[in-house]
């Protein structure tokens, strides 16, 4: 999808912190030398194209109270993978649910990211998830150190 220079400028600005004021898009307009109306029209166009998914607060899970964050991987038979994937995705504690390939060293094809307040709560949720699909072949692979967490810079 090709973007105009204006659209790139707007998108780059959206990747920085939105000014927290009652008229945030007016502030963006001032930075761009546009009118507020032009910014709103540009945003709507990017949203309609699916390029801008939303403008929202991105959280630090840990500080927001989710201190136990686990990547839980499941080994699911091919004919069951869609059904299981959809069911696991239905849990509100699951933020991401993907199908990925298996390798000789890696038999797990469904990946879920699960967030809870405590490790105990995380285990309980995962047990509930396992029970809901009647499947016990999973592993909780916890992150023990964050080396990097950033957003892509598209037009730098």
């Amino acid at each position: 999808m090709s973007l105009s220079g204006d659209e790139k400028e707007l998108l780059s600005l959206l990747q920085t912190d939105l000014p927290l004021t009652t008229r945030p898009f007016k502030r963006l307009a001032e930075k761009l030398g546009w009118t507020e109306e032009e910014v709103l029209t540009g945003l709507q166009k990017l949203a309609d194209q699916g390029i801008l998914k939303r403008i929202a607060p991105l959280l630090h899970h840990r500080q927001a109270g989710f201190k136990a964050n686990g990547m839980v991987v499941w080994q699911i038979a091919r004919e069951k993978e869609d059904e299981v994937g959809q069911r696991l995705a239905g849990f509100s504690e699951v933020s991401h649910c993907y199908l990925r390939p298996t390798t000789e060293e890696w038999p797990y094809n469904i990946f879920t990211m699960v967030h809870a307040e405590t490790e105990e709560e995380l285990s309980e949720i995962v047990e509930k998830m396992a029970a809901s699909i009647d499947y016990q072949d999973y592993q909780i692979i916890s992150s023990t150190e964050e080396f990097k967490k950033s957003s892509l810079q598209y037009f730098s």
């Binding site: 959206l14 912190d17 898009f25 507020e36 403008i55 929202a56 927001a64 592993q139 692979i141 150190e145």
Partner: protein, 165 residues
């Protein structure tokens, strides 16, 4: 390099939870989005703005901004995992983290102890980038691209968090 030494027990008020949960769906693309958001909870635009500011200061909000579809822009992304000897892990991490396309990088409690994501812009070749990082670090990576997506989006329900589920 951030160790996970975050402050404990950051407690959110009920209003903060509700606001965050609602705002995670995306604020309105209108002149006064915070006024609209506040209406649902009986708050003024100024009150909503103040709450978000304080959540940002407390580090609960990492960034308030646009969520952009890298796929729509033609970027390719992949999850990679590697087995790195403990004594070399920081060295490898340093090489990887220098790459702008490495956005998430974690140590995990598994034989595959390093897990990271790599994204490249449309004019670049993903496999070539992977090969060059493999060469630079001296390790091979297991490639786990997304085949299907059953759920995407970190819209966590903070309101239910304390309640019964």
């Amino acid at each position: 390099m951030n160790k996970e030494n975050f402050k404990e027990n950051m407690s959110l008020t009920e209003t903060e939870r509700k606001l965050l949960t609602a705002a995670q769906q995306g604020i309105a693309l209108t002149a006064e989005p915070f006024a609209e958001l506040g209406k649902e909870f009986g708050l003024s635009a100024e009150e909503v703005v103040d709450k978000f500011k304080s959540l940002e200061e407390k580090g609960i909000i990492r960034r308030f901004g646009g969520v952009i579809s890298s796929k729509k822009l033609g970027w390719q992304s992949i999850l990679l995992a590697a087995k790195i000897p403990e004594e070399e892990i920081y060295e490898v991490v340093e090489v990887l983290n220098k790459h702008q396309g490495v956005t998430h990088n974690y140590r995990r409690d598994h034989d595959f102890n390093l897990w990271f994501t790599l994204s490249v812009s449309p004019e670049k070749d993903l496999q070539a980038e992977i090969s060059s990082l493999e060469e630079e670090t001296g390790y091979n990576f297991m490639q786990l691209p997304k085949l299907k997506q059953y759920k995407l989006g970190v819209k966590l329900d903070l309101v239910q968090q304390e309640g019964e589920k």
